[in-house]
Amino acid sequence: MVMAGHELFHVLAVDDSLIDRKLIERLLKTSSYQVTTVDSGSKALEFLGWHEDHERLINPNETTSVSPNNHQEVEVNLVITDYCMPGMTGYDLLKKMKESSSLRNIPVVIMSSENVPSRINRCLEEGAEEFFLKPVRKSDVNKLSTHMMKSKSSKDKEEEEDDDDDIEKPEKQLQEKQEQDDQKEEEDETPQSQQQQQSSNNNNKRKSMDDGPSPDRTRPRYNGLSVMSN
């Protein structure tokens, strides 16, 4: 699977208010995301391909790929949901997703018009990445890319990588990676930054390496010029 650029991230927005759906859709689209909006938590789960009966049968190690029934029909990189909705609240939706082996890795962001600290904490504790107070602004939406990229790269880590040489990585992603590289020694929080280093053979500032080209840790690369050196 080719690692998609920033533009192809797909966000599922859930809100019972039509106006708020329009707003969030516009906000997300101006950030170049693909957007799907639904008006309830149950429709969201439906879209995500969640089926109660099949949940226990799903192999937890299985990644989201082409397979029958139980997995997502369409890949969703982030779910942003309103808290106050009739029927299933945003919190309920969050909980259901975290309980699902196929959906738990999708980052979830909660929105609410009410600033209730206990509510916010509850959502964060349940695994929400962020909590936005409504009305949601562009500056809030700008925070979403980090969560999506983090989750996407950890998913790629699980899958076999074929080729990633000529992937067009958008500037921002490259920047972030460079920052991660720079802080590599101090911060150990993102295991996937290691993976990213290994997988890309350009631009990485490594601490005192002898040669330019990346050492062949994973597999040999024969790109014409470099030779496997000991």
């Binding site: 208010s17 039509l18 106006i19 708020d20 329009k22 707003l23 516009r26 906000l27 101006t30 106050c84 018009s113 409504k134 009305p135 602004r137 562009k138």
Partner: protein, 144 residues
């Protein structure tokens, strides 16, 4: 960046609306989103808002007229209206909602009735202002 004539005059007038407290900063956010590739965005959302709000207030009035008033339902209506007016930046309408929501807790039917009239009035007023600015917004029908 190209802005058509209608939008331009609307934008100019919006400044008046800001000054007079009809609209708040959230409305500017909407305008910024419109600049991108969707020139009619503001008009679309504002139209939706008026449609939606009118319906909400009508429902609210109906609920208030019942024998046994369902205060929970009313609270939900006000909450919704507060939310949507906040989302588009309709400041006076939003503040009116916040204010008269208290009557709900007190189960004060008269207060609620009064509050909804005022809110409706603000809504109507805002719409008139926008129409005056040249925005193509459908006129609110008579409010009760």
């Amino acid at each position: 960046m190209e802005v058509n004539q209608m939008q331009r005059s609307f934008l100019e007038y919006a400044n008046v609306l800001f000054r007079e407290g009809f609209l708040d900063g959230q409305f500017s956010q909407l305008q910024m989103l419109a600049d991108e590739s969707n020139p009619d965005f503001v008009v679309e959302v504002v139209s939706l808002f008026f449609e939606d709000s009118q319906k909400l207030l009508n429902d609210l009035t109906t609920t208030l007229d019942q024998q046994n008033v369902n205060f929970k339902k009313i609270d939900a209506h006000i909450h919704q209206l507060k939310g949507s007016s906040s989302s588009i930046g309709a400041q006076r309408v939003k503040n009116a909602c916040i204010a008269f929501r208290n009557f709900c807790d007190q189960q004060n039917v008269e207060g609620l009735s009064f509050g909804s009239s005022i809110t409706f009035a603000f809504l109507f007023q805002l719409e008139q202002q926008i129409v005056a600015a040249g925005g193509a917004i459908p006129i609110l029908s008579e409010f009760s």
